[in-house]
């Protein structure tokens, strides 16, 4: 088996604030293979964005990676110097943010901003960089690209700005694109355009994508593999079909029950009770235990271990352990 493009091993990221240490990401591990789309889904505060920022090493004070490794082609990014990181970012891994309104610099033209990253990461000269910028805008389907190069971000619509962000992120042909809620701020029809574009470019350029979102619809649409996060930990990880049709963590099951479906029977939604845990005051056992309707004694006392459900599915829930135990007991009795 070849080594994965990106290996995240036991990554922890904390924020030291007045009220204590907030463990935004709490020992998560996953692999990303070349040319695959990995989805990270979770609610606000589940640590999905912080995971992305940790991989890009763009955490803002007081955020700090407190443990673990992020291996890109076998090299540990966590140990990189600032200078190494500057060369690495944008060239190997790029990121697009949720809000295309605030992630472009309002005082520079689109062309200027696109050129900047091309000049920094490749040995093209100004003229070649300009040509490349134009080519990228065409690639992402911006109309009248020559005109756009001379325009400022405020002159473009939201969907257009997100296209420019994607063009910028892809200008240096990165191996991995991290998309942090890339369509949350956009309307559905524009969202469909952007998702279609990302799928098309992913096939054309063969890059891997980490898609971070809270929208299970977007996840189902885009991803080969899915990670479900809750309170900084991975609940469950598996292929899209496994997660949607064979969820093995109570939180995932709850999420899938609580979303409205496009059907005509209008069945009552089954919400997850309570509200998300306070990250400064994490319980000893499973973080989801207080909201879980299958909660057992052991859930409150100790953290569930990862259990391999099958080749393409891992879940951390005591219910699975209980099930395995009960099956074994039944067989033993026979």
């Amino acid at each position: 088996m070849s080594t994965p493009l990106l290996q995240v091993k036991n990554l922890s990221t904390s924020f030291n604030v007045d009220s204590g240490e907030v463990r935004a990401v709490n020992g998560i591990s996953f692999n990303l293979d070349k040319g695959k789309v990995l989805g990270i889904v979770g609610e606000s505060g589940s640590g999905k964005s912080v995971t992305a920022y940790s991989i890009m090493r763009i955490l803002v004070e007081p955020g700090k990676i407190t443990g673990g490794q992020i291996l890109f082609n076998g090299q540990d990014i966590v140990q990189f110097s600032k200078k190494q990181m500057r060369e690495f970012r944008g060239k190997r891994i790029s990121i697009i943010f949720q809000d295309p309104m605030t992630s472009l610099n309002p005082v520079y033209t689109i062309g200027n901003q696109l050129r900047e990253c091309i000049l920094l990461h490749t040995d093209r000269n100004r003229e070649q960089a300009n040509a490349r910028a134009l080519e990228m805008l065409q690639l992402v389907g911006v109309n009248e690209p020559e005109k756009r190069l001379k325009q400022y971000p405020h002159e473009l619509s939201g969907g257009m700005r997100q296209r420019v962000m994607i063009a910028m992120a892809l200008a240096c042909e990165p191996d991995i694109l991290i998309a942090d809620e890339p369509t949350t701020a956009l309307d559905v029809t524009i969202q469909a355009q952007i998702l279609e574009l990302m799928q098309e470019l992913q096939k054309k350029l063969g890059m891997a994508i980490i898609m971070i979102t809270h929208d299970l619809g977007v996840i189902a649409d885009m991803c080969d593999e899915i990670i479900v996060m809750y309170a900084g930990r991975v609940c469950e990880r598996g292929t899209a079909d496994e997660i949607f049709y064979n969820p093995r963590h109570e939180y995932t099951k709850g999420l899938l029950r609580s979303i409205p479906r496009l059907d005509t029977n209008h069945a009552r939604l089954i919400p997850i009770a309570g509200s998300p845990v306070d990250l400064t005051n994490m319980p000893k056992g499973c973080a989801f235990a207080s909201r879980c309707d299958q909660c057992m004694k052991i859930c409150l006392e100790s953290l569930p271990e990862e259990l391999q459900i099958n080749d393409s599915h891992i879940a951390s829930c005591w219910m699975n352990v209980k099930q395995v135990y009960m099956e074994a007991e039944k067989e033993g009795a026979v």
Binding site: A192, I259, I272
Partner: protein, 322 residues
Amino acid sequence: MSSEYLLEVKDLKQHFPIRSGWFSTTPLKAVDGVSFAIKPGETLGLVGESGCGKTTVGRTILHLYKPTSGEIIYNGTQITPQNIKNYRQEMQIVFQDPYSSLNPRMTVADIVGEPLDIHHLYSSKKERADRITELLNLVGLNSDHARRYAHEFSGGQRQRIGIARALAVQPKFIVCDEPVSALDVSIQAQVINTFEDLQKKLGIAYLFIAHDLLVVQHISQRIAVMYLGRIVEIADADEIIAHPMHPYTQSLISAIPIPDPETARRKKRIPLEGDVPSPLRMPSGCAFRTRCRFATEKCAQECPSLNAVDGNHAIACWNPHY
């Protein structure tokens, strides 16, 4: 004369003057001739993309903006700026943002109690306190919460406070302006259920404004789709999802990301080219024609009106595709 409808909106227009020169203004036609009716205890979903005027419709009905023209008829009486005060008890609103729609300096008891104070709905302090507790219980909060401030609550709980405030005057009609958009998925379901329970218990009619079609089709009996200030299609919720007729509705529905990998793989999107035109420079004729697959010359000349095609299903299109 009484009619079967609780609320009727007829040819409602809301134009905002935008300064375009030193002395001249251009009208921004946020809502340009919208008509619909809501029965008692019914939910009408109003969907559309940002800038289509759905929020403006909701606010204009409540006279939070003075309508440019058109009629708003509540229970047979036309609402005017003069008599709207009498109807504030009947019609209420729940806002999108549970963070900015609650006064941070007021306790929950005062937020929920303020409408009671304004409308003199109690005779003793005890009655007021009892009523506040009752309202909080109704939305799934308890009396312990009454003494706290808004910042002490999570988004879902704040939205419940907003709902309790709207319920304080025992309205018959509530405009719900994107009430669950700012909430997490698991919390969304809690609040949606609260809305449904209250409707069953109290017989309130909702105008449910949202951009999330999955949520709207879940909660509504009928759905109206807006595009650039006009309703382009209106029908029963199940009907519009199963058989959308207007090209815009068809694209909109095909664009919803379905949380089901199997369906997502099978599904074909009907992509829409380009962006929504600026409401200051509206295209002639049908506003959707610049992005429509079926646009003809007629679409550029004349604006189609909303016509019933069968039963409850009406569309505004020259070339409907069934």
